[in-house]
Subunit: 198 residues, 4 copies
DNA sequence: GATGAATGAGTTTTCATTCAT
DNA sequence: TATGAATGAAAACTCATTCAT
C-alpha cells in the first residue's frame, strides 16, 4: 500500500487543509503542524510543495481568484429577460458569497495584502455595472448612475455573508427574495407583485 | 523630571498604539514590542494596564462598541420627516463606516471571536429595523419585510468602506446620493426628483 | 542576585562561547543551543545581541582582525638591530599563530567568505615586507624580491600551526630556532653560529 | 534505452560532484540534493554507492591521499644533482598545492577529523626530510636540524595556495624562483646565480 | 511607576535517510 | 538499477511574558 500520491492531489490536499484551517482559526493562529496533520502528511513534505507558509497563502489567493471568476462567468449567459438577468445575478452572487466570502476576508486581509488589486471586487462590480448599463441602454432599467449603483449592489451582497446577521438570521429564501426585490427597485424595473407567503 | 503620566492617558496611548498597528498589520503580526515602541513605553509597563495582548484586543472591542453606539444615538433625533430620517441614517452610517469599518473587521474577526455577539451588527441593523417598522406603521414606507430589509440596508453600507472600490472610486457625494436614492426606493417612498448638481 | 549583566559583557560571553565551539567542532556542527548553553544564557537572549548565527560569525571575524592587528603593532617597536628585528618578528608571529590560526581557518573558510579581503594575510605580509625593504635599504639585508619573500616568510609561519606537524612534532624551541635561522638566511644576514645544544 | 552506467563511473561522478561542491561551499553547506543533482542522479542511488554523506567525505579523503602520494612519488626520480633535486621538489609541491590544497583543508578539517593521522603532512614532510638527510650525508647540504627544517619547507609551500596572497599576488614564476632560492639557502647550498629573466 | 534584560515554549524550516515502485 | 515522494528529528528563530532593579 502506497503512501505516495500524484503531486496535484497532494498539493490540493495541502491547499484544502490550509484553506479550512485559515478560515476556522485565522492564518497566523494556524501552525504548519496543524496543516500537515490535517493533510495527513509530514511537516517536511509541505516544503516540497510550498516554499513557506506565506507561499501557501499566496497560492490560495490565486486559487480563489480563479474559482470566483469562473463562477461569475458561468452565471451570465442563458437569460434574455432583463428582470431574469437581475435575478440570476442575485442568485449567482448568493452562491459565491456563501461559499467564498469568509475565505476572501481571511486571505485578502492578511499581512500587507494590496487591497487595491483585489481581483474579486473589480470582477463582480464590473459585471454588475455592465449589466446595468446594458439594461439602461435597452430601456429596460432606469438608473442615474449605473457605475456607482453597481458598487452598491455589489456590497449589498455582503448580506449573503452569514456572519453579518445577528442572532436570528433570516432564512436564505427571505434573504434572496428581499434582495431580488431591492435590486429590481434599484434598477427601476416594474416590480412583480409577490404575495408575502408565496 | 519624571516620565510618569496619568494612568488614563497611558492606557489611552496604549489603546491608540494597538489600534493603529492592528489595523495596519493585523493583530498577530503586531508584536508587543511594536505596541510599546509606538506608545513610547517599556514592555513591562504594558502589563500594568493590560493582563495580556488578548486583553488589549478585548479592551479595544469594548471601546469600539461604545464609540459606535454613541455615534448612532447622536444621529437619531432631530428629524420628523420620514425621508429626512432615512437620509440622516445614511449620513450617520457613512461617517461610522468611514472611521470604523477596518477596525471592526480586524477586531471582531480575531481568534475565537464570537460573531453571534458582535454588538455592532445588532445595534445598527436594529436601529434601521425600528425606523422601517415605524415608517411602515406610519404609512410612510412600503416594505414587505422590514426586518430583512434592515439587514440589507445595513450591509449596503459596506459601500462606505473605502477598500471596497476599484481603482476609480466614486466621490463621497455620488456615493451618498446613490445610497440615499436606493434607500428611499427600498423603503418605497416617492423619490424626490433631484437635479444632478443640487 | 541578578541574572542581568552589562551588555558588553554578555556580548563578550556569547562571542567567547561561539569562538571556542566553532574552533572545537566547526561552525555548522555548532548549534545555537550549544552556544547559549556554554554562555549560560537562554536561546532568546542570543537574538538580542546577534541577528543570526551568521551574524555571530561575522562579528567574530571582525574581532579577529582587530586583535590580530593589535598584536602585530605591539611587536614592532623596541629593536634597532636588524637581526633582532627579524627574530622579534618570528617570535610575535609564533605567538599569533599559536593562538589564532585555527580560529582563522575556521572563521575565514566559512561559507562564501571572501578570501581576497582577508585582512590577516594582507596585514602580516605587509609588515614583513616593510621590514625587509627597510633592511635592504639600510644595507643590512640582501633580498632580490622583498615583496614575494615577505609572502613566503608569512606562509612559513604556518609551521606554528600545531596541526601541521605529524605524530612527532618538534618542540616549540626547535621550531623557533629553525625559523629564526631560516629567516636570517632568507634575509641574507650573516648567521650567528649557534651551538646545536645551546 | 537505459540510464544505467558502470558502477565505477557512477561512483566517480558522485565523488567528483561531492568534491567540487565541498570545495565551493563547504561540506555541511552542501546538501545531498546538491550532490545528486550535480551528478545527474537520484537521491536514492547515492545510497547504493555510499553508506552516508560522511562516508562520501571519507572516500574523498582516501582518494586525496592516494593522488597526492602518487604525484610526489613521480616527482622524485630522475635527478642526480642535489640542487636539481631541491628544485624538482619545489616544482612538484607547487603543482600539488595548486591543485589540492583547498580540497585538503576542506576534507581534513571536517568534523572529528583526526589531524594526527593526516597522511598528507606526514607524506610530504617525510619526503623532504629524507631528501635533506641524504643531502647532508652526501655533504651537499648544510642543515643543523633536517627534520624540523623539512617541516618548515613543507609549510612554506602553503605559499602556493593561491588564496594566501593579497590583491596583487606574485606571478607563479616569481613565486617559484623565490621559493627555489629560499630552499637552496635553507639547505645551505651555494646559490647558483640566475639572471632575472632566465 | 517604569524599565528592558532574560526566559523558554512554540513555530518555522532544513535535510539526511528510507522505501514503495 | 534507479527513482523521488515521504519522513521526522533536529536546527534556527520568534515573541508573549516575567522580574530584578
Amino acid at each position: 500500500m502506497s503512501r505516495t500520491k500524484p503531486a496535484e492531489e497532494r498539493r490540493a490536499d495541502l491547499l484544502a487543509a490550509g484553506q479550512a484551517l485559515f478560515v476556522a482559526k485565522g492564518i497566523s493562529a494556524t501552525t504548519l503542524e496543524d496543516i500537515t496533520n490535517r493533510a495527513g502528511v509530514s511537516k517536511g513534505l509541505f516544503y516540497q510543495y510550498f516554499r513557506s507558509k506565506d507561499d501557501l497563502v499566496f497560492a490560495l489567493q490565486e486559487q480563489f481568484s480563479d474559482r470566483f471568476a469562473e463562477r461569475i462567468r458561468d452565471a451570465t449567459g442563458g437569460h434574455t429577460d432583463w428582470v431574469a438577468k437581475l435575478d440570476a445575478c442575485v442568485q449567482a452572487s448568493f452562491d459565491c458569497y456563501r461559499d467564498l466570502h469568509d475565505l476572501h476576508e481571511v486571505l485578502f486581509r492578511h499581512g500587507g495584502a494590496d487591497h487595491d488589486h483585489d481581483p474579486v471586487h473589480a470582477g463582480l462590480a464590473l459585471a454588475i455595472w455592465e449589466l446595468l448599463e446594458a439594461g439602461v441602454a435597452a430601456g429596460a432599467y432606469q438608473v442615474d448612475d449605473p457605475e456607482t449603483t453597481a458598487v452598491l449592489f455589489y456590497v449589498t451582497m455582503h448580506a449573503f455573508d452569514s456572519n453579518v446577521h445577528g442572532q436570528r438570521p433570516p432564512s436564505d429564501d427571505r434573504l434572496l427574495r428581499a434582495t431580488r426585490s431591492l435590486f429590481r427597485r434599484g434598477a427601476g424595473v416594474a416590480e412583480v407583485i409577490v404575495a408575502p407567503d408565496s
